[in-house]
Symmetry: C2
Subunit: 284 residues, 2 copies
């Protein structure tokens, strides 16, 4: 097999990463993509850094068993908490969603005030603050933990007329009133599904002219330029396609995935993530 | 060690089971209780029966390592989905929350229409329907899946003035309008935390005079009578007390546990549930 025809691996705690896959497929239609959603252990964003890192190492072990040429961590929480641990233990190129989103937000902001909505674990970790400071030390970044967004999205409370999601979004966005950002990063790959509700709430509470950065979509652009820069693009069109693997039953995943991916999917395979458990005594 | 001085084991996917522990401590103040909350893999109620059973077998393996004299499954989902599998693989007496709640509800209903609010996995499983039919074949039981209640409770949306929880509760209770029950079983041990909101919604939407059955509290009463009937009560007052174990960091658990238990707790120990993984190839 030609080295470049190896697949690109993508993983997330569950369904959210499919919003990145949608972008990847659009930008790189010739690539083979292998997606893993750890639906048997979702959600990650309310767990401790230690558990998140442990689960992410298992996920990488699974993807690396396919001999993938690069991996996109399509999960804001893992990208923030465990990127370095993954890069330390695996020699495959691994990209998260943080640096490309921070770069885009720093390029867009005029007031130098950037907000970032994410899971509690991502906010606590402060990876976005560190990344933004590297790019532009005059930027202030404020993270808002949004623990209800993942359950709301996973349970289908996503319509623009959904009163409950609007109220919870208003509650989160109101915390930004004093800070008054001009850019909001969606730091979790579930959040683009309710982008319209978030944008509407921001407009009503914070005012017009706020840019929204989708971290998963920005990361897909980074993957494309990485493959281009390193002459790693696949040119064999027969290879193209996406394989889906999950760690719980496939039925629920198939049903919800269309919402995230914007198309119907078939052939989802269930695996036992316990079979890919990373060495227990590794120093994280 | 006197055989009766062995602890009573209690487990749940996370925090919910502590509402049962509160009742157990009140009814059996001399008993030693060992509680395990699988916080590293919570929630269970939106997962498949296979994964729920697998996790429950691990949880039982952990509790049985203490030589407990009996186990209360203080989790509606595990009680509905995995009780028989646990009883098949462990010789310790194991009690779930379903049969005692069904018995209480059948005793209370006059109209023979009982509603049951629980996680989607519990509703799909129909354990409550089977149990109620055994007690009184003239009873109809209607289960309503309430997937948002666990995240709402775990994220503190529990105050009686909480508009979001009220709206979601009204959405679930409205599904019972045509059925018009006179008893509502809280089939998940998280739900007693928002009992007042549920009762208020039922009063407004379904009318006065509806009885609410708390499955975790009923199960605690069953544990007491089981120990009495089998002369297994502990009489050594030095033994009394509760030990808490979790599979993710202890800090969050300590903070939230007071809400469920109604008192502050200390000395929570984190364990690696991967160390207690039940034999992989067992036939479930």
């Amino acid at each position: 097999m030609d080295n470049n025809s190896r697949a690109v691996g993508v993983f997330d705690s569950g369904l959210g990463g499919l919003t990145s896959v949608r972008e990847l497929k659009r930008l790189l239609p010739d690539e083979k993509i292998i997606y893993f959603g750890d639906t048997g252990r979702v959600p990650y964003g309310t767990r401790s850094p230690e558990i998140i890192t442990k689960y992410a190492l298992d996920d990488m072990s699974f993807l690396s068993s396919f001999g993938v040429k690069a991996v996109l961590i399509a999960c804001g929480t893992v990208s923030s908490v465990a990127l370095e641990a993954l890069q330390k233990h695996f020699s495959i190129p691994i990209m998260g969603v943080v640096s490309s989103a921070a770069k885009k937000a720093c390029a867009l902001t005029k007031t130098k005030r950037i907000a970032m909505l994410a899971t509690p674990a991502t906010v606590r970790n402060k990876a976005y603050e560190r990344e933004a400071a590297k790019i532009d030390s005059t930027v202030s970044l404020m993270g808002i933990g949004c623990p209800m967004f993942v359950p709301l999205v996973e349970n289908g409370y996503v319509g623009s007329d959904c009163e409950v999601t609007r109220m919870i979004t208003d509650e989160y966005i109101s915390k930004l009133s004093d800070f008054s950002p001009d850019v909001i990063i969606l730091g979790c790959t579930h959040f683009p599904i309710i982008r319209d509700i978030i944008a509407d709430s921001a407009r009503r509470i914070l005012g017009e002219g706020i840019s929204i950065v989708d971290s998963g979509a920005e990361a897909a652009i980074s993957v494309k330029s990485f493959l281009e820069r390193n002459s790693m693009l696949n040119h064999d069109a027969h290879i193209a396609g996406t394989e889906f693997y999950v760690s719980d039953e496939t039925h629920n995943f198939e049903q919800s995935a269309s919402l995230f991916l914007g198309e119907n999917i078939k052939s989802v395979t269930k695996i036992d993530i316990g079979d890919y458990m990373f060495a227990k005594n590794v120093t994280l």
